[in-house]
Symmetry: C2
Subunit: 345 residues, 2 copies
Amino acid sequence: MEPPAAPRRVTIVDVARHANVSTTAVSKVLRNAYGASPEMRAKVRRAIDELGYRPLAAARGLRGQTYTIGVMLPDIRNPFFPEILDGVTGCLEGTDYQVLLGPGGNGEKEEVRVTDAMIDRGMDGLVLVAPVSPRDRLEHVASAVPTVVVGRHGHSPVYDTVADDDRAGAALVVRHLAELGHRRIAHIEHHETDPTRATEMPNAQRADGYRRAMRDLGLDGEIDVVSTSYTQQGGYEGAKQLLARPHRPTAVFAGADIVAMGVLEAVAEAGLSVPGDLSVAGYDNTTFAALGQISLTSVDQAGQEIGRNAARLLLERIADRGRRSVQVRLSPTLVARRTTDRPPA
Amino acid sequence: MEPPAAPRRVTIVDVARHANVSTTAVSKVLRNAYGASPEMRAKVRRAIDELGYRPLAAARGLRGQTYTIGVMLPDIRNPFFPEILDGVTGCLEGTDYQVLLGPGGNGEKEEVRVTDAMIDRGMDGLVLVAPVSPRDRLEHVASAVPTVVVGRHGHSPVYDTVADDDRAGAALVVRHLAELGHRRIAHIEHHETDPTRATEMPNAQRADGYRRAMRDLGLDGEIDVVSTSYTQQGGYEGAKQLLARPHRPTAVFAGADIVAMGVLEAVAEAGLSVPGDLSVAGYDNTTFAALGQISLTSVDQAGQEIGRNAARLLLERIADRGRRSVQVRLSPTLVARRTTDRPPA
DNA sequence: CACCCTATGGGAAACGTTACCCATCAGCTT
DNA sequence: AAGCTGATGGGTAACGTTTCCCATAGGGTG
């Protein structure tokens, strides 16, 4: 009894033989290409079914398409990204394309690894979600394979972009708080060193949107930004700093929900109540913002919409690589919950 | 000015020419194969660097390996899965393998689609995380490509498995609650219809573990199981039912953290307090269980450990397809937090 | 009736890599 | 000196698919 030595795969040649036609004919049927009569198509389709034939992507890739779209997600933990993914897969449903994800993970090095891997695997198109790599790296990738960049603002002639208007989102929060009567509204931002990213990344746009909105409301003097990171720890530390102010803010706009979680923790630790003593708002409307126990006011990016648009643009670009690049910008909405209320009297 | 028509890729032939050797030699160097002198290796490596050559996975796949490992995740939203993924990638770091994720998503149909896609793409090995497909489908997949199944208990001669001991995990919770003084401990389970899955799936094992642990503690009479689903909604509804009992339980063991979230919501709505009136425990130790605002007692599965083991087994099986199948079972631990305490007096 | 279309089908050469095998050569052993 | 060995390098045929082209046949046109 020998090891069952995986039976040889059914190939296009087997199908051709079984249907009494040429391999060329089978190929034409597979790709819905020109030059096959209806009878031919029927005959071949039957043979394909009878033999359970499936085309081998590797072999196809050697000649042209692999019918694979790669999506790079920076942090699979961020509950916002699955939304985007749903949008992408939803839009690709019904096409022959299959989506595969690359775990972008941590920083530029990993992004290079993943994008290279996707190119090496002959993927037909790439969706890069919130990449941190420098612009020229993105353009390098885009010159090798049709690419759409999601959640990053700067635009390039070689790739399309889809993003929410983070500036507008920040303004939504500030105005919401101001309408409740707040004036001392602070912001916790993600510290950014790289100069390009300082313009292109969502965190930078949010901080900028915060500043503008404050100015527009005549609250220039109250602008108060703490620079930490988009992590729970960053929120915790940022809040500590803000609570230590001689004249502490009555509201905190955290640049991300996870940051807001850290803020809530620090506030509880200080023996203060939310929203009694301090209003708190986040950004991203993640799953836990909606949890009853938390009920965090947040900004909802239309994740699915973003994904759908990205997929659509990608298909267009695959069809016409030379076409001009497109930038899509979507509008976020505010979801007011129980962590924001009127300031203490 | 014409469209920049992506420049032809550097191939092994270019490298060979540039280094004045044969393509065979280059191939040997690439694969660290036998039959290349140190000088040869050095020369070829230099040429590779100078030309920026990268092997095309599609072409490799046509001959043998693609150096790609596919990981199917059922629900990218479940914050437990990234842990597993980290374990897998961590173990594969340093090897030539690249991990790509398939969005398993919703049910058998999608699982078939994703696994087929991975096979078609010539992946060298698959990790299936908590698949819902029937056993023979899994065996079919495993007979086409080396496979490790994660988080599912039944074992098969053709694939390896890695899972936590869910029965033991459930027992941990029950004993913890019993030690605190609880007797009326209820359980909310995920309703399972399929007979195979009723044995193999983690949810079934947890329910079973709950029953056994109750019996072991002499609490046979107090066994109380509500059958809904592993969703927040399921937890909410389950809790509603339990709270409506004439003699309501003093503790609820929810089969998953997300279920516990629903329970907490229902409890708050009923005007009761946790853990004052009711203790609540979850399972999975997800990110939000740890959030200060929630602080949910839960069971921690060694996610990274699971992933590492899966990757290790997969590499072994790729190296020796005929080898006997292995089952790894890991022990979960209890993380007691603030949602469990002594029962009301 | 000669000619030229168009529609349909197939032959065969790629695509980039690996694996099998053979050739060569230097250094030993008889 | 002939024969053997092991180490090194290369030639070449796959792998499964697509794509470029050519062949054929039938039908319409001049």
